[in-house]
Symmetry: C2
Subunit: 106 residues, 2 copies
């Protein structure tokens, strides 16, 4: 779901759905902060417990918001043992948002 390559091939209604979902995922300060924290991290990748510390949010809340970002393909999850790391799908965001905006949010 929500893969960039396909957006240009979508009909009008499906494109509206795509953008509605994208904007919805981005329309929340916690989620914008998650993106921001990951982009500031040395490896451009953080696990849930890293974010728990940095943003002072509890685990279940973070999982909820991370899932929203993964669902629209803004974040890409990577499992390393017991840890789940998340990195930003810059291509996807850059496809949707202006350079100016990308600079500000990541």
């Amino acid at each position: 779901m929500e893969l960039i390559k396909k957006v240009n091939e979508l009909g009008e209604d499906e494109a509206l759905d795509f953008y509605e979902n994208m904007f919805n995922a981005l329309a929340d300060k916690i989620r914008l902060k998650i993106i921001n924290e990951i982009s500031k991290s040395p490896n451009k990748s953080l696990c849930v417990c890293d974010l728990e510390e940095k943003l002072e949010l509890k685990q279940s809340k973070l999982s909820y918001h991370l899932k929203k970002l993964v669902n629209v393909n803004i974040l890409i999850p990577e499992k390393h043992g017991t840890w789940n790391y998340y990195k930003i799908n810059e291509e996807q965001i850059q496809f949707v948002l202006s350079e100016d905006t990308c600079c500000k949010i990541f």
Copy 2:
């Protein structure tokens, strides 16, 4: 509120607020359709009753959604007698979204 010129001068927290509000305004299919209808109209401007017809939505519902778009400066209202016309603030949207996205939504 939400004037482009100022976004680049904002601190990080205020910038996040700005984008959260922007994405929130865009994160709704009715509001995306409003933008789309206005952009397709000959004068790039429609009044509430035009939209009522085109989108088959009732007046109070439209007023609610139009207000959301005006609040973040995506739409600019213009009063002509009894009619309230709305036009798109393309500059504001182009500042936030990519060319690709703008092409798709208006």
